[in-house]
Amino acid sequence: MVKYILFILITATSLFAQDSSVSLQRDCLACHQLHSIPSQMIYRRYLMKYSSKKIIKEKILDYLKNPFQENSIMPAQFFLKFKMKESSPLSSKEMNMLIDAYIEYYDVSKKLFTPKKS
């Protein structure tokens, strides 16, 4: 019984992860790629300024809800080249899910590794 519940939970989680990853690609990154807006660089700037995933999430959410220059991590010059995004029609829940997926996508801890010496 326990194994059965565990199986359902793991399957549901991976499906959800897969689903959120697809949503991220569709709702966020697709537009970034289309207009060559460097999403990785933006994440790097968030990381360098706030360090904590919790704070980064708060700041991105704040920007998505109120997309103004003062809420953005990018400098004013950045918006000379790229236009300011419009207010998102997504709900808070959806935004939260997408931000989690965005942070997960660029998560440094998953990229770091210790090379084995030959």
Partner: protein, 327 residues
């Protein structure tokens, strides 16, 4: 910083052995570790010991890769610590020996003038004592002869000569006592200190009279103590001569002798409190108004120590001094 700039899919984090590293974000959550570091950074100290490892936590700003704390863990190399301890001990010993040598030579250099003056003083005393005895004895003997055989008109002048000669004689005795450094054979036996004290008071009677000092005697009869007679004389003579010498004209001198103690109370110039402790030192004189070498109380102190007596000094400036020997 390089890893941060690229942010590729694979970020190699190279750490040389035997170091271990862990990266934490600003909330102290683990980002990455080369070993089994805790998920949450617990400590706030910059350095701490973890079993046999030294852990160093470095705060990082700006937060490249989101890293706010870098934890470096290195096993303690006991051999190096032992070597360092040995080096420290050797250095301390070397430095200690070096400073001891320097101190010894500087000390010798600084006390050289004092040592020279003490040597000169001792040599002077040694030479003087040789030459003093015969003329003093001659003067005293002839004074006694004149007093016995002839009717001399100059009684006062004769008395002054007698006092001066006796003072010289006493100084001679003190100097001899010091020169021999108490190494002569003592003849310690029970003596009647009451009789001896009276005899010495008589010896000093001329000096007491010349200063018109009122002598008050409370002397118990036949007080016996075990002491060398010459030591007892030196003890009494020095205390008495001080009580007379530093007394005021028409002053008062109380001599009290009981079975347990001998006390002299004078109405003299007194000694300052700060000088009371050092007054027993050799060549130490609290007051330069009267002549002397400053060896009297030093001799008294030596005798008191030799016989395990106790010496108590009480004094008030311009009021007088009380010296008590207890046995």
């Amino acid at each position: 910083m390089v890893l941060h700039r690229t942010l590729h899919d694979k970020l190699p984090f190279i750490v040389d052995k035997p170091y271990k590293c862990a990266l934490y974000d600003i909330d102290k959550n683990l980002i990455f570790a080369t070993d089994t570091s805790p998920k949450q950074l617990q400590k706030d100290e910059e350095y701490y010991l973890d079993n046999s490892n030294i852990v160093h936590i470095v705060e990082i700003d700006p937060y490249y890769l989101g890293v706010s704390y870098l934890l470096i863990n290195v096993p303690i190399n006991q051999d190096k610590i032992t070597n360092l301890q040995i080096m420290i001990v050797l250095f301390m010993l070397g430095a200690g020996f070096f400073f001891l040598l320097i101190g010894y030579f500087l000390g010798r250099l600084f006390i050289a003038p004092m040592r020279d003056s003490i040597t000169t003083m001792n040599r002077f005393i040694q030479d003087t004592t040789h030459e003093l005895n015969t003329p003093i004895s001659t003067i005293l003997t002839n004074l006694e002869l004149i007093d016995t055989l002839y009717e001399c008109e100059a009684k006062k002048e004769m008395q002054r000569i007698e006092i001066a000669s006796k003072t010289l004689s006493r100084i001679y005795d003190d100097l001899t006592y010091l020169k021999l450094n108490h190494n002569y054979n003592r003849d310690i036996r029970v003596i009647d200190i009451s009789a001896l004290l009276k005899e010495r008071l008589l010896y000093f009677s001329s000096a007491i009279q010349s200063k018109d000092i009122e002598l008050v005697e409370y002397i118990d009869q036949s007080v016996l103590i075990k002491i060398d007679r010459d030591d007892a004389i030196r003890l009494i003579d020095n205390l008495l001569s001080n009580a007379i010498k530093y007394n005021i004209s028409k002053g008062r001198l109380e001599t009290i002798l009981t079975n347990r103690k001998l006390t002299f109370i004078d109405s003299g110039i007194g000694i300052e409190n700060k000088d009371l402790k050092s007054i027993l030192n050799r060549f130490r004189r609290a007051n330069g108004s009267e002549g002397g070498f400053g060896i009297g109380l030093h001799i008294v102190d030596q005798i008191v120590q030799n016989y395990h007596f106790t010496l108590a000094l009480k004094s008030k400036l311009q009021e007088g001094t009380e010296v008590t020997i207890t046995w």
